[in-house]
Symmetry: C4
Subunit: 305 residues, 4 copies
């Protein structure tokens, strides 16, 4: 059944992009489009069914697994940030240059625009049927919420800003802990845990604004709603020009979360002492008379698992 040469390998030899930045930008573009295409669909099924099909719990579980899958798909290229706040946090860890952060952000925002547009197009009939043709941000038949966040009127800008800082800090703090090489979390599980992290953040700081915590995810679809959605300028002017908060606040929250983790835990982790909880004594592995302690060998299986 084995084919002499698989088709992707042939294409790879001819069309493979070798510039690492370009490869990463392609991946960010792909992952963020995917995230918003399916993610907008998840919210849409919540909105159009008035919470009967996709419940609030379902929405957050769906987004969690979706983020995990998008990261799995791009884990060996850009890492699947899909979020300028995450990219900026990676900058402050020295894993990304500031110039690349700007490129990433722009590509992520364009991809979010397109991804949400794709779902809007696919569901055009259903949205028409639900709203009777009138696009509104508030009210019984409001549908703008399937693109981006529109908080209730009683939520002050300062509450919203704080909410976004804490939410993004929590997410990036979880990410920082998960990717810390000294924590030795199997790389094959890390994307899944990012997704669980997003689920937890949405479950604890998602009520006020619906958990955007991502400038590209909020602004890109908002732009689409303005340009093609038929919701008009109100998508920006709503609630005293609230729209800038989920763009700016996460950029503070991301780095904050990463560094809280580093200062309290990360930089103090012993180099190779097993924890008190659950780690077995490391035996030594003797091969051919040369004793090598297992802690030296660990990264091998770590990496592979």
């Amino acid at each position: 059944m084995a084919i002499v040469e698989e088709f992707p390998e042939r294409l790879r030899r001819r069309f493979r992009v070798r510039n690492p930045l370009l490869v990463n930008l392609l991946s960010e573009f792909f992952a963020t489009t995917l995230l918003l295409c399916a993610g907008t669909g998840i919210v849409l099924q919540h909105v159009l069914s008035e919470g009967k099909l996709n419940t609030w719990t379902h929405v957050h579980l769906g987004w969690g697994f979706l983020v995990a899958l998008c990261v799995y798909g791009t884990f060996k290229t850009s890492g699947g940030h899909m979020n300028p706040a995450v990219s900026l946090a990676m900058c402050t860890l020295g894993k990304l240059s500031l110039v690349h952060f700007f490129y990433y952000s722009i590509v992520q925002t364009i991809a979010a625009f397109l991804g949400s547009g794709l779902t809007y197009w696919a569901y055009a009939d259903q949205i028409q049927n639900f709203t009777g043709g009138i696009r509104t941000i508030t009210g019984n038949k409001a549908t703008a919420g399937l693109f981006c966040s529109f908080p209730k009127e009683h939520i002050s800008h300062s509450s919203a800003f704080l909410d976004q800082v804490i939410g993004t800090a929590l997410l990036c703090l979880f990410i920082a802990a998960i990717i810390d090489k000294r924590n030795k979390i199997p790389t094959g599980l890390q994307p899944l845990f990012f997704g669980l992290g997003l689920f937890v953040v949405g479950s604890s700081y998602g009520m006020m604004l619906g958990n955007p915590i991502n400038p590209a995810r909020d602004f890109g679809p908002r732009l689409f709603a303005f340009v093609f959605g038929g919701y008009g300028w109100e998508v920006f002017s709503y609630h005293n020009y609230y729209f800038w908060i989920p763009i700016v606040a996460p950029l503070f929250g991301g780095p904050l979360g990463v560094w809280l983790y580093q200062l309290f835990v990360g930089i103090h982790i012993p180099d190779d002492t097993p924890s008190n909880l659950g780690l077995m004594d490391l035996p030594t592995l003797e091969v051919n008379g040369i004793k090598s302690s297992c802690s030296e060998l660990e990264p091998l299986s770590e990496n592979g698992a």
Copy 2:
């Protein structure tokens, strides 16, 4: 407690089928029958309890885990496609010949027919009790939906077709990313992630048609509903002969998804550079004076984990 020789090993020596195609077809038959037997049960508990026991979320979670388990059972033989759209996508990757694709599709459809029939038979009393003996496709006591998809009347054929293309593309795109050997996702986790992928697709593109995205899964049970279910010719003629859409559209969506992934990410993944996110520096492992870089060794633990 150890037995000298386990019974399955004895049978294996005597009855083992050695023709790989036949082994794979047996596996596809088994997995697809299982998928439809349990899967129809999941939908049935939703329908007969009018959404009270198995909620919409429960149905999608159940199908996700079910797919994962069916794939685990056949992962070392056919791979557990259970879906002609997935098989066709594998064809375009060069992992399956076109002739085998046809064999797979036929076996999958027969198995879907039988699997849904098994559950129909087991639940005959309950269905009778629920419907009062009248089999209908629409209305309060409609039960045809436990076999296959019957969209609402306001959903146009073009919307339905697009929905099925996108849904199947999403699923196969996730599959392509998960099985890409350069992504180094542990094989022991891959079937679970296929299941989460299905959950995400149903959560974002499941509202219109109920997420068939599988020609065998939709047509096989539809045939059963026609032949033995007592729903009559209407299972085909319903909604202006809608039935062909979940057969044809997924066959476009599957390859589309796989190749979108390959063109944007897959063929550009560097051969052994760790990603920016989360991978530790690979140490070298010295055994007996011969240095071998860990990246050479990786597949060993990869494969095992």
Copy 3:
């Protein structure tokens, strides 16, 4: 922080039971008590809150994770069957002698009796408060269902029997696939997948009887309800002496499931050919001039992962 010698190791040297059968029976006793103690609690929170706290979905998710955890705790001793139907299925695979199956079954039933009793005792006040002191099997304030299964009156004995055969067959079929060494599913994940299997069975064949599929789990608590629960002889006589069905039917279903898997898939799995889906080419690992193919080495990391 390391202690010279951990306390359990000291006890181990003095009190360790070395008879394997006794060790296994202790484990089965422990795991089944635990399963019924927590499991009855899960059902109880469903019953006493009238489905508001623990929904139907929650009950099945809770049981799934509970089974997984009970198996993790006894995975290296008896394997955590907690179910005579599973033990009998293991018999037919040659992993357990028929005599031991009888010992296992008796211990499992006693443990189920005690486990459900423990929760009944802990929740005595709440049950009293809910029922106003009257213990009934049917009606608005029925509580017997928290011990064991009591099907609706319109479910015939033959439907119930078939339901239990299929349900147990599905469960044991999943177990057989998961533990098949040729499927190379990491042992560290197997108990989790047993739990997901139970979730799927309850989601597809749980509506009629509530998914007992376990003679000990149904009969032990039923006995407790008779002796100490105050429900009287009706726990046996209910619905024309239905009580024997979830005892006998699973003993047919368990072996059936295991052997369906073996005959369709298990005995035909090639010895070391990678599947079509997702397995990378196995590289050879050269150590000190001796080439050893990875497939020889696989079980090492397999086992560990």
Copy 4:
């Protein structure tokens, strides 16, 4: 894209704390603050939405994943107890000295105080909007429950005490089984299973009191509710000074659970016999003419996976 030296490594060289106790206390402080900050948020979304957004199931799933993530972040330092009952249980296993247990407990309680306070501050507007400014423990608009447990009046102190003993025993019993090195559960999965364990406990023994099973988690926020929350002395005097029960009872339950596991299973696990269920025969691995049984090598991949 690789940076010559990552920023955290520079800080590490300059500010790394090398006293293991201090490192552990920093980690406990960090993890417990995080747990209560997000955990209070999860409960708060349940309370303020009157169960519509975060359902009961969602609350327990969210706490389960949250605990898992907090432990992942501190797994290689203190182990992420976040709970004096767990720390005491570790004492009785000889993994922690009694003096350190006291330090841990104090830090955990302070962190719980601060963590819940952070969320109270962030959600101040919303709480004000929900309650209309009146802070109450009971009634329609009661909000004290988002800090700590306040049982219904009909629950006697003895029922509450028993509930907390059993709940904590179950949790610590699961933990003891998961971390038992002889069970060989991959360390990279252990924190996830702690989280599933918490989910199961809340699903079976969470109805009466809401599943505190943690002295720090209950008392710290209670103190905050008294000092800054505006609920007055009633947070202590409520229900005949119930507040001491979730402080004292878990300290009995934790060690009880750990030792029940050890006496029934842990100390009897054979040293290297594979279980009856699912383990393959261990092959020997020959390298350079020296045969080393795989059981010797196991911990390597075990540890890494």
